[in-house]
Symmetry: C2
Subunit: 427 residues, 2 copies
């Protein structure tokens, strides 16, 4: 069988240059149209391949799939993912075959082709997974250092536990929304350091956080742990993630139990989940870890991923400005270390769990993954092409995050996660 | 229609004195037997009333229920709860009627009676709800003060935000288990203040937290808020909750993002959800709040509940010792204030959400709701009848929490939440 990651593969579908979705990618998502209802699909160029339709035409015959694959008509990928890695792999492999330039099966079957392929612009994408649990990590050393300098002590910016533990916290599931969903500015309590009492009103420090989230593809039982060498076996794929944050709410509420209403009014996820398999060619080593992690987190080899990331800001009716260029490879703690740590106390993982990276900042100021860092807590406002300035995000602003891997002419992209900020509700 | 809370009601079922489950209670739960599969039931005395069987015999005819009430055969109460308050009320009302001493419908229908009633000892109880989201609050002023004295500054034990915000954080859903499930002692990182580096191994400070959790019965849309006067309309019922905690893991990991692996290895919930309706007679005013909360949290009237709580500890093979007597009425922040705060930024609530109170401590040392407080961080060990001492929980110990309301001879109880601690997994 051909390796679906082979850079030489071509499709009979016309793929625009620099597309995020060449035949080597084949990410999974969930879409809906009025006629079809809800379907699982695969992105290819500017099209979606409707996997339910593909199965109805018999193209999955011979794969170890249920005869009536209801998993392809669900509102989330969870049921499909639950079928297990051999099935995901077989489906991706088979889709790759069907789309190859030299395979006539689907290409020359006019009715099937017309039914199975839909333009992405004609479908509505849904949240790809129903998160069973959602954990947000804090694994960029640059981000943690920046925050430590700004809010605590520049001389001791990193807390003593940071280089020992992939610090994380549980986030809110209900408010995770798919790209394109508007985000309403939250009201909430905040208190200026010199104010006597807090006030309640619209957040004045609305921010984004540039993150990448991975989706758990294989769960564990309560009490079980995951050896670090097996951690990646539990990962299905990755998506872009914007962990919207209201800094003023957050700084007033977060001691001692962590972020709560400053975060849980909304998080945005991109609609396409790029499989870990598709990202194999883009493995790189992570930063050196000093001190060496405790043995249960000790890891050698290439466990980071070279994913270029960018954040664009577009004022209402205005053009996009790129305000941040970062990379997922900067992560100090790898996904495997995050997952193994998460399960190290016996906490059970579930298929569909979302584990987000935390803000991904690099070393240069233009690689910082939040307005908090880009404007250094508002002290260095950004100036947009229209002359307006931003300390934080304004009503009407759209925040767009994009990500892609690129090597030797092969580009594997994530599409985008986009959200536009609506004014706060009236009190 | 008779008020199902009327203390004068009697059932034709023999209810033992001091039962938690008189005809005035009628809590909902989910049980399973080999023959029946999974069913929704109501506790009455030492019996469970099988609501699916009741519906099959036509006793719910006339209620606004689906003809084939699959909601009574699910693995959680969520689908039933989703039918809405008028339906919960109608079902509880009808069950009350059916069980009244002077109603022959079920009492004199021998086949139905034999089918619909099962002894509790013959069924296995399941986790009553599938939590969609789980938030743990920190709403006992005595607990927060005790923790502040021990870990921070006795002179400033309460943090500045505590009297303004019902502080809370998101907890782990996957590891919430029903009473009776054993809890494995977690391994994890901990570092003594004077140690140079952390170590990984079994928690040496395993603790319980005495809590009460409420189940959300009516959700909201993302962006919506809940006025304080309507908050209780969103509550279905209450259960006992043990938020197991590994203090050594927690104290090393929790800065700055809050509790994580110190908590998420397991939380235990009691199997019966007592409806807020059944608890109406036990309303009391909460503690005076000074300073007055901000307007969105301002509340008058009786919004606390007088629920006696106790914690017992039983070493392996040994008798139970009551080590704590507390009361849910001590809560500084009411459930309504917790819920309204939670939704105040537009965070959407979902049916089946669990919101736990945080440790419920009273003013006297024997009312403290955790070993941390009862033994004052291990400095005042408890002595059990067998002469053994406890600073924290040992392997083989069972922790049992019970709760009940009592007034004028009417007792509405919660049953118990129980968990036995297993030794940590080998490293």
């Amino acid at each position: 069988m051909a390796n679906p990651n082979n850079p030489a593969l071509r499709s009979w579908i016309d793929i625009p240059p620099h597309s995020d979705f060449p035949i080597q990618n084949l990410p999974f998502g969930v879409f809906t149209t009025e006629e079809r209802g809800t379907r699982v699909g695969v992105a290819i160029g500017e099209y979606v391949l409707d996997l339910y339709a593909v199965s109805q035409f018999g193209f999955f015959r011979g794969l170890d799939l249920p005869t009536e694959p209801k998993v392809f008509r669900r509102r989330s990928l969870n049921s499909f993912i639950r079928l297990g890695r051999p099935v995901w792999r077989a489906v991706r492999q088979r889709v790759s075959e069907l789309l190859r330039h030299d395979n006539p099966e689907l290409r020359d079957h006019e009715e099937a082709m017309r039914t199975c392929l839909i333009r992405q612009r004609d479908v509505q994408m849904l949240r790809p997974v129903k998160p069973q649990n959602y954990t947000d990590f804090y694994s960029s050393i640059e981000h943690a250092t920046n925050v430590g300098i700004m809010f605590r002590d520049p001389a001791n910016a990193l807390l003593p536990n940071w280089k020992w533990i992939p610090i994380g916290y549980h986030g809110r599931i209900s408010s995770i929304v798919v790209s394109g969903t508007d985000i309403r500015r939250p009201n909430g309590q905040r208190k200026a350091p010199d104010a006597a009492v807090p006030t309640f009103g619209p957040s004045q420090q609305l921010d984004f956080e540039l993150e990448v989230a991975f989706v758990v593809g294989q769960g564990t039982k309560l009490g079980d742990t995951v050896p670090i060498g097996q951690a990646e076996d539990h990962i299905f794929g990755l998506a872009l993630f914007n962990d919207w944050s209201a800094r003023d709410l957050q700084s007033w509420e977060y001691v001692p139990l962590g972020p709560f209403l400053g975060k849980n009014f909304g998080s945005s996820i991109s609609p396409w989940v790029v499989t870990l398999d598709a990202l194999e060619p883009f493995r790189v080593a992570g930063p050196a870890q000093d001190p060496a992690p405790l043995p249960y987190l000790h890891q050698t080899g290439q466990h980071n991923l070279d994913i270029n990331l960018e954040v664009c800001l577009a004022p209402a009716g205005g053009p996009e400005t790129t305000i941040c260029r970062s990379n997922f490879k900067y992560m100090y703690w790898s996904m495997a270390q995050q997952l193994t740590h998460h399960a190290s106390n016996g906490c059970n993982l579930e298929v569909g769990d979302l584990y987000a990276s935390g803000t991904i900042s690099g070393q240069s100021p233009d690689s910082f993954g939040s307005m908090l860092e880009l404007t250094w807590r508002g002290t260095k406002p950004l100036t947009l092409p229209d002359g307006s300035q931003r300390k934080f995000i304004q009503d009407g602003d759209a925040v767009i995050m994009r990500g892609y891997c690129e090597r030797n002419g092969l580009r594997i992209g994530f599409g985008e996660v986009r959200g536009t900020v609506l004014p706060a509700s009236e009190l």
